[in-house]
Symmetry: C2
Subunit: 237 residues, 2 copies
């Protein structure tokens, strides 16, 4: 009896923080580097009121790393290290947080700066987007304007909220394969607004996955499935 | 160099026809038996205007057999060997075809007779339903009234068509895990009616998968995925 070479798993991942000076402010980020490096990258957009190290972002980063995929997250506008108020502070106002920090255009530039930085350090690699809720408020603009992104996991967002008009305007410019998650009983983002935004996405390959439950109750198999989806479409050519 | 034991596939399947005398008429059916037998069974409901040996039913039967799962199909009311008119005959009328052959109640009884017959021959096994369009017009009533069915793949149907009221009444009685397919640009069954029927399904585990395209343009990976879904949920206890 001895150890064999089967069922080895590549689940060791190193995390590295970084700060970028971009667009007149600091963009703090974190990079998850699978042991042995990676030839693929996923950009992770966190949700409203959360930040780059919220539990579900770290969870997805680890699931990706287990498949040998690197990932990177930054704090969104007015979130995490960039926050003036915590999201449970009475002074926290999502409209002000989004627009007071430059809104959609600045989000696009911040993510471009983060991707440029990671590519300068680790080289250019096939790249995907993963982001729900505010992660889609950031994701649709980034994916629409960034040719380097080949596939995206989006969802929990409609033509609704602080950048509703930007989302409706930019969704038709998204053309890569998309999986889009909808929580059927979403108490925050109205179901009809999610269906309407999904409808506007320009991609010919797009699939909506809807499950019962509230905004934050995405079933665990759907999260695991989202990582498998990116793994499948993010091919090294 | 020699053949090894890897990548063996169990894709040999025997098909056997049968006729049941049930509910005052003949119910013609076909049983697909994977080589070496099977400890699981799927009931395959064909769509309107089709029959038990239409190409996509045979395709799903073979995909299931490749996973060691047996399957059975019968001709629906007024379809296949039970048809008075072909579906491209000007005399073909879907309302008359459905109701003139006993409607929803008779469909339930026909499928019960088919399942009883197969169990009498092959024993009782964990059983699933697979059926789109008219395969869901039959499937929701059968799954709602048949405790032997543990999981179902449904879709391409709304609270619409010849048995719209039966579907709306019975959908809340469906409680097993469900995957439900929707074609976003369905030109036959209105999208809103599909969303409304999905909403009515009583199961706590239900997932809607929506893809662009017309009624019959279900993407091939979604069909392959539907078989993997049943394979995953149809466990032998």
């Amino acid at each position: 009896v001895s150890w064999n070479n089967k069922n080895k798993s590549k689940d060791k991942v190193e995390s590295l923080g970084f700060d970028i000076e971009a667009n007149g402010h600091q963009v703090p980020g974190i990079y998850w580097k699978p042991e042995g490096g990676s030839d693929r990258l996923v950009l992770l957009g966190h949700g409203g009121g959360a930040n780059k190290t919220v539990d579900y972002i770290v969870n997805v980063a680890r699931l990706l790393a287990a498949k040998g995929i690197a990932s990177v997250a930054i704090d969104g506008p007015g979130h995490g290290e960039r926050a003036e108020f915590a999201s449970d502070d009475p002074n926290w106002d999502f409209q002000k947080v989004w627009h007071g920090n430059g809104g959609t255009d600045t989000v696009i530039k911040d993510w471009k700066a983060a991707l440029d930085f990671i590519e300068s350090q680790e080289g250019a690699r096939p790249t995907a987007w993963w982001g729900l809720s505010m992660g889609t408020m950031m994701g649709i603009p980034v994916v629409a304007s960034e040719d380097r992104i080949r596939v995206a996991l989006l969802g929990l967002m409609g033509n609704w909220g602080p950048n509703a008009e930007d989302l409706a305007r930019l969704a038709p410019k998204v053309t890569c394969p998309i999986r889009y998650l909808l929580q059927w009983d979403d108490e925050i983002v109205p179901r009809d607004s999610v269906l309407a935004l999904f409808d506007l996405i320009g991609s010919t390959k797009k699939t909506l996955h809807a499950n019962p439950g509230k905004h934050k109750d995405v079933p665990i198999p759907e999260i695991q499935g989202s990582v498998e989806y990116l793994d499948r479409y993010l091919t090294v050519s």
